[in-house]
């Protein structure tokens, strides 16, 4: 779909380019064509309709051949537009280069002037110039060029400032070259592409503007006629003989549209963000394309149970298996830790539960998510939405980005309440204050009217937690909620969460990359690597006797439990790219114990009771753990 759209865009650009080249070609060869004289009047044959004998497009109010006038007018309009663009670019670039190159006071003075010029609605300036110089095509050209000089000056100055302090310019200066030499040989070649791009984006505009001035009667004067003055002259007979207006008007439309299409295509091609298709917006819920059988719920006690969940990212022709068949469950009052490096798929797993994986490119391709016995994968959006925040709530990392920057935190809390509970504003506000108190925000009554940027990181995250608690959910999924915080604040937040789950019987899924945090909070832990769970068990058991080589390396990275931010870079090598997973154990390239058997086929996640590991040569014998 996306590919098709891009293709269509390019095809449009190509169409624009072809049309434009045709028009330009036609304008170039006009004098060679066997056309009537565009200025010979023939009052006996006024207003002939298109198709009349000898006049393909008919005649105008003076009986002049419209086709000839159209082609000559096009020629003139194009020439004037190009000339205006050239002069604007020339003088604008000169001013911009001087300002940018010399900097300091020169720059300041010039740019002030440029800003002043830009303070005018452009046509006023153009009209003032034409008023001073008098109507006429040359003067209209000067006016349009002059009005566009500030635009070029500003753009080119920006580029030049960047260049003026590059090594090669400094080197030229040290070599004793004069300013003029440096500008001409070092600066100019580097800004020319920018000038050309700026010209191509403004040229359609200039053609339109000169045509406009001519239309007003301030540009080309009779008998000379560009497209604008043709239209202006035809206006008198608009109602009686519309074809005389439509012919030149349509030509302007065709030219400008061609330029715009071409320009858009070029801009898209030059803008790498657009090309990669990165600028897509996520849909309200993750796309579901479930293949294969739907696994059953398994354990009946769990409030939330993920079964063989598969979530992929489809980017162009590549498929990234971010989550490759994950089983997880959490019971009321229980805290499950999900740990792994960034890119292990732990966050995607968490977001898949409520269909919050950005889509495109995310797609849930298999498995099931049971919440209170009901499979949510592929559930209707409205049903999913009614559960979000009400039964299953999220706490995200970095609350500065995850809270709305322009809403007061109180309003965001109130909204969270009122989405699911039809209570009045004042009651919701009272509840919001109570929530803020519950997460121990001092002066909750006044803090409720703060904006996120007015709070500290720790306070913001408390707001995030309060928001998650707003509707007394059954499950809270916390996605690295303490990563952005310092150690003391982190400890406070963790103990807050711990308390809340004991008080309210919440089930918590805690996503982290820090075993210290897991040790502090979680009853059970699941270790993820390359989109799969490689080890799971009660926290104590896993910490005391990690069985998977990856787990034991992870634990070795934490010198003391709860020691704050711990990066896992200490493990040599990188996690594998999930778009080309080799068969066998994904950890093999980084594993010291890897053997040929490890690379052969799928290794099962097995073990007694609550313990399980996905490894052929585990570090320790698994003992049936006790929660």
């Amino acid at each position: 779909m996306q590919f098709l759209t891009l293709l269509m865009r390019n095809r449009l650009a190509a169409a624009g380019g072809i049309v434009l080249s045709l028009v330009v070609l036609l304008a170039l060869v006009t004098p060679l064509l066997p056309l009537a004289n565009p200025d010979v009047t023939d009052t006996a044959n006024r207003f002939l309709m298109p198709g009349a004998q000898g006049h393909l497009l008919g005649t105008d109010h003076l009986g002049r051949d419209l086709l000839a006038r159209l082609l000559h007018g096009t020629r003139l309009s194009l020439a004037v537009g190009f000339a205006a663009a050239f002069f604007a670019a020339f003088f604008g670039a000169a001013i911009g280069i001087i300002a940018g190159y010399f900097g300091g006071r020169t720059d300041n003075l010039i740019m002030r002037g440029v800003d002043m010029l830009m303070a005018f609605p452009y046509i006023l300036l153009a009209l003032a110039i034409v008023a001073a110089l008098g109507p006429g095509l040359t003067n209209a050209l000067i006016a349009v060029a002059a009005v566009n000089i500030p635009f070029f000056a500003r753009n080119i100055r920006g580029v030049t400032v960047g260049l003026a302090h590059k090594e090669f310019v400094d080197a030229a200066r040290l070599a004793g070259l004069g300013h003029t030499r440096i500008i001409l040989t070092e600066i100019l070649p580097n800004v020319i592409p920018v000038i050309v791009i700026a010209m191509s984006t403004t040229i359609g505009w200039m053609i339109l503007e000169t045509a406009g001035l001519s239309f007003l009667g301030l540009g080309s004067q009779p008998p000379q006629a560009d497209l604008g003055s043709m239209l202006g002259e035809a206006r008198g007979a608009l109602i009686t003989n519309p074809h005389t207006s439509i012919v030149p008007g349509a030509m302007i439309l065709v030219i400008v549209m061609g330029i715009n299409l071409l320009g858009d295509g070029v801009r898209d091609a030059l803008d790498p963000r657009l090309r990669s298709g990165a600028l897509t917006r996520p849909m309200p819920a993750t796309r579901v394309e479930r293949k294969g059988t739907i696994p059953d719920q398994g354990d009946g006690e769990a409030v939330l149970s993920l079964r063989q969940l598969q979530t992929q990212f489809h980017v162009k022709n590549r498929i990234y298996k971010a989550v490759g068949g994950v089983d997880l469950k959490v019971a009321p009052g229980e805290c499950l830790g999900v740990i792994g490096e960034s890119g292990s798929g732990k966050s995607v797993t968490a977001l898949s539960v409520m269909g919050l994986v950005a889509s495109p490119p995310g797609v849930i391709t298999g498995g099931a998510v049971y919440f209170q016995g009901e499979d949510l994968v592929g559930a209707p959006y409205e049903h999913l939405r009614s559960l979000r925040g009400d039964k299953v709530a999220y706490i995200f990392q970095d609350p500065l980005a995850t809270l709305h920057p322009l809403y007061k935190v109180g309003d965001q809390l109130i909204e969270a309440i009122r989405v699911h509970h039809p209570v009045g504003r004042s009651e919701a506000r009272a509840r919001a204050v109570a929530l803020l108190k519950q997460v121990r925000i001092p002066n909750a009554e006044s803090r409720i009217d703060s904006y996120p940027h007015e709070m500290s990181g720790g306070m913001r995250q408390r707001v995030g937690i309060a928001m998650a608690l707003a509707n007394d959910p059954e499950v809270i999924i916390a996605d690295e909620p303490t990563t952005a915080l310092d150690v003391t604040v982190q400890a406070q937040i963790l103990s807050l969460l711990d308390e809340l789950r004991r008080e309210r019987g919440l089930a918590i899924v805690f996503i982290t990359h820090d075993f210290g945090v897991v040790a502090q909070l979680c009853d059970r832990v699941a270790v993820m690597y390359a989109g799969r769970i490689v080890e799971t068990g009660p926290t104590e058991a896993v910490l005391n006797a990690p069985a998977h080589p990856y787990t034991s390396r992870l634990i070795a990275c934490v010198p003391e439990l709860g020691g704050g931010r711990r990066r896992l870079e200490a493990i040599p090598g990188l996690p594998p790219a999930v778009d080309r997973l080799e068969p066998g154990c994904a950890f093999a390239p980084r594993c010291l114990k890897a053997s040929a058997a490890c690379r052969e086929g799928d290794i099962a996640l097995e073990g007694p009771g609550m313990r399980a590991v996905r490894c052929i040569h585990p570090e320790a014998e698994l003992e049936e753990g006790v929660a």
Partner: protein
């Protein structure tokens, strides 16, 4: 807030002065005897004597500027010789008509443009998005004066929905219905280009915002999608859209010159064109300075609106 407004107003003073300097310098480009040039076709000996006295035209350039500026500050923009009427009176009359037209268009382009952009972004790659994208391309490519003429042909001549021209307001009376009836076509014709630009920009601003984490938060809260898009996302996108609205106001004001010609609208744009053709320089000068100053003030209003909308801006 008041302090911020005052600060912004103060900062406009040099810009306003700069505008007068630029206009003055452009007029000084006129070759030959300034009195003769300013009066153009109206250069009778009495007029020449009068203007030399009023503007100190035999004085040096700098002195002339200050005389002119001083006069303007006291509300004296000189006398239009073609109309035999004080420039300021004529400009104020005409500007009110332009304000009605451009103001309506500006509202139209803001509302329609933002709505189209939001829908386009929310339905990215869908049929609505494709349709809007195509309409926008057409809208920004069609010259407004040509569009206006085609609208007259279709809606006034063929369908007879609206009158071609001849609003009674200019001659006193007519009433609201008459004005509204005459306003519809020119206001739409004028709004089309700006609507296209605003729609394009709103679309990309919305696409940018919809990818942000706080949108995911809103969805995770269970907020209805309509409110996510038109509330959370649009609210954040407005921060990027508003400054462009200020620029668009300049384009609407500029386009008004053409539309006023096409629809015989008695506005300041048509006044300027007539004045140029009659070489009534004082009228041009006064009109340009007055409208440019209004535009600068409008942009301050835009800045203030922006600061009201974005609490992160220090006021």
């Amino acid at each position: 807030m008041t302090g911020y407004i005052l600060k912004r107003l103060l900062s406009a003073v040099p810009v306003l002065l700069g505008i007068t300097v630029i206009v003055f310098l452009i007029m000084a480009l006129i070759p030959g005897d300034p009195a003769l040039a300013i009066l153009g076709a109206y250069a009778t000996p009495e007029n020449v004597a009068k203007i030399n006295r009023d503007l100190g035209l035999d004085a040096p350039l700098v002195a002339r500027y200050f005389i002119w500026l001083g006069n303007m500050l006291t509300g004296d923009f000189g006398t239009s010789f073609s109309l035999n009427r004080p420039v300021i009176d004529e400009v104020l009359d005409r500007f009110s008509a332009t304000l009605l037209l451009a103001g309506t268009s500006f509202l139209l382009c803001t509302l329609l443009g933002i709505a189209a952009g939001v829908i386009s972004a929310a339905k990215q790659y869908g049929w609505a998005d494709k349709g809007i994208t195509f309409a926008v391309l057409l809208g920004i490519s069609i010259p407004s004066f040509f569009l206006g003429m085609m609208m007259i042909l279709i809606f006034a001549v063929e369908l007879r929905w609206f009158p071609v021209s001849g609003m009674k307001m200019a001659y006193g009376g007519g009433g609201f219905a008459d004005v509204a009836n005459h306003l519809v076509m020119p206001a739409f014709a004028l709004a089309v280009v700006a609507t296209g630009v605003v729609a394009r920009l709103s679309r990309s601003a919305m696409l940018e915002v919809l990818r942000q984490d706080f949108i995911r938060t809103a969805r995770a809260k269970g907020v209805r999608e309509g409110r996510v898009v038109w509330g959370h996302a649009l609210r954040a996108a407005m921060v990027g859209i508003i400054p462009v609205l200020g620029i668009q106001a300049g384009f609407v004001l500029s386009g008004a010159v053409y539309i006023e010609m096409v629809f015989q609208w008695p506005g300041v744009g048509r006044m300027l064109v007539d004045a140029i053709l009659k070489r009534d320089i004082l009228l041009v000068q006064g009109g340009v300075v007055f409208v440019a100053a209004c535009y600068v003030l409008f942009n301050i209003a835009v800045d203030v609106a922006q600061s009201l909308l974005d609490p992160r801006i220090k006021t």
